[in-house]
């Protein structure tokens, strides 16, 4: 490794032999790289993205979920293992691995101090997220600030980082990784590491792959995070004989403003208008109970609901007073003096939308509107009921937002054990291959999502993978 401490694109020898090759450049990758380097290993990080866009989906994160038995730092109250586990069980409907999950939950206890030691700083829960102040630690400045600190720490420790350097090919012999080929801006680079940490995220940005399960519809998906989540490494590992985990057809998705950029729109394109409005499809018809449950519990189902509608679009319709009840989107609301005008502005059939709104208004019943509880404002007699927060849409200007499904991550991954070591298809452990982050999150999070758990999995398994890889390289 000595020969290429800094810029391999200037100094490209034929073959690099670091102790550890970390593939990926997000939270999981850097947690692994820093941990391994601290244990004395030489570490090369290969990140597909260019420096300004480094760090994958981690760039867009804001918090992680940490267990704690008393107030700690910015975390309030206590959040004990059993409650954490119950929360996880509920969102995954049991599609998890209790032993791995409990290990992760316990290990989350000192994630905040690990990150603090790396220079990451925390802040009290953001305005409007008070409900998370007990369970989640928020990064000051968000995920990109966290990444800046982690990269600084890695570089300070002497980790070599190559940007614009995706892993392209891998030679596996009996489950052992013999060689990895990286594509650098200066040409191909062969790496023969003692151990590999795969932390290259999911495959949600690979539309061709998504099409295998979703057909044409995949073309209309918005990818909330990095365009570099192409899943190349995941595919190489699965083709090389690693055991898969998680449903390949499934992903986590939320409702976004339909005008969001195709990739990397992050948090700002999220729209929380659903419980305060009615949602219609391209044909002007409602298709699901907008008031089924409190929004934080339901916002993650709306991505899929919209993905199943024709054209993968929907429209959130409300009136002027209701529009003041949710956070503004980055894009201006479409407004119009009548429902028919609004329909035209949104490209909907005015008659169909007017009929839907009229039927809905006629069906609204109930008393005092209260967005903080399951109130009694509901509809009666509709094929698709709105069971809470139903208010007549009657005060102009009328307000509409286009919605699209925004894919957060995919569930397919490689199977790992409690030391982050990858399992081969025959059930045996891979000798020198470790995985961390989204590429293995499906082991624990087979379905649903728990705010902040993605980063927790990345950090816990990143550290385990770094430790395991360093120990393997040391032997």
């Amino acid at each position: 490794m000595e020969s290429v401490q800094q810029t391999p694109d200037i100094l490209v020898p034929d073959i690099l032999v670091p102790d550890i090759l970390v593939i990926g450049g997000g939270h999981a990758a850097l947690a692994a790289a820093i941990t391994a380097r601290r244990l004395g290993a030489s570490v090369l990080v290969a990140e597909a993205a260019p420096r300004p866009m480094r760090g994958g989906n981690t760039r867009h994160t804001r918090n992680l979920r940490a267990v704690h038995d008393a107030p700690r730092g910015t975390l309030t109250g206590a959040y004990l293992e059993d409650e954490y586990w119950d929360d996880l069980l509920r969102v995954t409907h049991g599609q998890t691995d209790e032993a791995l999950a409990r290990m992760t939950i316990r290990a989350s206890a000192d994630l905040v101090s690990f990150l603090s030691d790396c220079g990451v700083r925390f802040q009290p829960s953001l305005a409007g997220t008070l409900s998370l102040s007990r369970t989640n630690a928020f990064f000051l400045g968000g995920g990109k600030a966290l990444l800046n600190a982690l990269y600084r720490e890695a570089e300070r420790l002497g980790v070599s980082v190559c940007y614009e350097t995706p892993a392209r090919a891998m030679t596996m012999r009996q489950g052992t990784i013999a060689e990895v080929v990286l594509r650098t801006p200066g040409g191909e680079l062969r790496v023969v590491p003692r151990a590999v940490v795969a932390a290259a995220g999911g495959f949600q940005a690979n539309i061709a792959w998504m099409r295998e399960y979703w057909g044409e519809a995949a073309e209309n998906f918005v990818i909330r995070g990095t365009p570099y989540a192409q899943g190349d490494v995941l595919r190489l590992l699965l083709d090389g004989g690693c055991a898969p985990v998680g449903d390949p057809t499934q992903f986590h998705a939320v409702a976004l403003d339909g005008r969001a950029p195709r990739f990397d729109g992050g948090i700002a394109t999220r729209l929380d208008s659903v419980p305060f409005s009615i949602v219609v499809n391209r044909d002007g018809q409602r298709f699901y109970d907008e008031g089924e449950d409190l929004w934080p519990k339901r916002y993650a189902i709306w991505g899929r609901l919209i993905a199943q509608q024709p054209g993968q679009v929907a429209f959130s319709i409300c009136d002027a007073p209701a529009a003041r009840d949710f956070m503004p989107s980055v894009y201006p609301a479409v407004t119009a003096p009548t429902i028919a005008h609004l329909a035209r502005a949104l490209g909907l059939d005015p008659l169909a939308l007017a009929a839907t709104v009229a039927d809905y208004n006629a069906a609204v019943r109930g008393g005092a509107f209260d967005p903080t509880v399951l109130d009694s404002c509901h509809t009666e007699g509709l094929a698709v009921a709105k069971t809470h927060w139903a208010r007549r849409i009657e005060t102009p200007p009328f307000v509409g937002y286009p919605l699209r499904p925004g894919i957060t991550f995919t569930y397919l991954g490689v199977r790992v054990d409690a030391t982050a070591r990858v399992r081969l298809a025959d059930g045996t452990p891979a000798p020198n291959l470790f995985a961390a982050g989204e590429i293995m999150a499906g082991n624990i999070l087979g379905r649903g999502y728990l705010a902040g758990f993605g980063m927790t999995i990345g950090g816990v398994f990143g550290r385990l993978a770094g430790e395991g890889a360093a120990r393997h390289a040391g032997n």
Binding site: P124, L126, G141, K144, N148
Partner: protein, 359 residues
């Protein structure tokens, strides 16, 4: 405060609307909580937020939407542009607004004119002068008072007019507690603290360098100003004539102030030379540089004057120092110095908005 919509305002508004949907930078400074108190950003509010921003760059390096993202968000640069426009709006007399964008010409011109005026009345430029009243042997006291008094009075009036305009933008009458809070925030430059860990200037690494250097510069400036005030009292009330002995109050204050100013300004100049240009608005930097250069030159010339006051170098040094100080007074109301009153007004308004009693 501002009536006409400019490109800089449109750009800043776009940025703040994105921030309001994102909010990740909430912990860096007072600007983000102020953004979150709003849903819309009318022109006057943009000016307020721009002056509340301390240009620490924290929210640039942390921004998930910074270039090369297609949104190309650059909050510090967008706010710096609006900030300059907001100062320009309040400059009185209005015909001099253009000078903000030509700081070097404005300052060099003012220093030159002041220098010529001082030279015209100077005597015995080529020999040493010693003893009480030595300075007045070179430039008569009456001339000193006339030049200094006139330029300072002008600066005071023009700055007051500007500050008054900024004050009107407050949208209410502050209570003493708001002024105290603002004074605290200005004295500590809390908003240059990056939420506690320093701010990424000159590079991406958080650091307290700029904040500390500014403390030295502004603190030194106040000490130097105090030295001048004490000297004026000595001169006119007590009848003691400069040059004063080394261990007199004006000289001690002046030396401490001069050294601090010079150290602070030099540090800021050095930092500026290596600063990452990405989060900065290039067109606003000349005003920074010129004020920094001028303050450094004032401090340096004052210190050298003190060191060499017994020699033949004294008369030309005195003329130079005087010219620089007068040039500073005259250009205060059209240059970077305006950031003082405007930022203070923004801090007052922020204290008012944060006050739960007013909501």
């Amino acid at each position: 405060m501002q009536a006409t919509e400019t490109a800089a305002m449109a750009d800043a508004r776009r940025a703040l609307e994105i921030c309001n949907a994102c909010r990740y930078c909430e912990g860096f400074c007072a600007v983000f909580p102020a953004i979150e108190r709003r849903r819309e950003f009318p022109a006057a509010d943009l000016g307020f937020l721009a002056n509340l921003c301390h240009g620490c760059n924290g929210c640039y390096h942390a921004c998930q939407y910074a270039p090369p993202h297609e949104w190309a968000l650059n909050v510090p640069a967008a706010l710096a542009r609006v900030r300059h426009e907001s100062w320009s709006e309040t400059i009185r007399p209005a015909t001099l607004r253009g000078l903000l964008r030509r700081p070097l010409a404005a300052t060099a011109g003012a220093v030159l004119v002041a220098g010529l005026a001082a030279l015209a009345s100077a005597h015995g430029m080529a020999r040493a002068h010693t003893g009480p009243g030595a300075f007045y042997a070179v430039i008569p006291l009456a001339t000193l008072i006339a030049l200094g008094g006139a330029s300072f009075l002008f600066a005071l009036l023009a700055l007051a007019a500007s500050a008054l305009a900024a004050w009107r933008g407050l949208g209410g009458t502050p209570r003493p507690v708001h002024l105290l809070r603002a004074l605290h925030d200005a004295a500590t430059l809390k908003n240059l603290g990056g939420g506690g860990g320093g701010c990424p200037y000159p590079g991406e690494q958080p650091s307290a360098a700029r904040r500390h250097a500014h403390h030295a510069l502004a603190g030194g400036f106040l000490l130097a100003f105090a030295a001048t005030s004490v000297a004026t009292i000595d001169e006119h009330l007590l009848g003691w004539h400069a040059p004063y002995p080394l261990f007199s109050l004006p000289v001690l204050l002046g030396v401490a102030g001069g050294v601090l100013m010079l150290a602070g300004a030099a540090r800021l100049i050095l930092l500026k030379r290596v600063a990452d240009p990405a989060p900065l608005a290039a067109e606003t930097l000349a005003a920074d540089r010129v004020l920094l250069g001028l303050l450094a030159a004032i401090a340096a010339s004052g210190l050298v004057l003190l060191a060499l006051r017994g020699t033949v170098a004294m008369p030309p040094l005195l003329v130079l120092h005087l010219a620089l100080v007068l040039g500073f007074f005259v250009t205060m109301p059209f240059g970077k110095f305006l950031h003082g009153p405007h930022r203070f007004a923004a801090l007052v308004r922020d204290a008012m908005e944060r006050d739960p009693a007013r909501r």
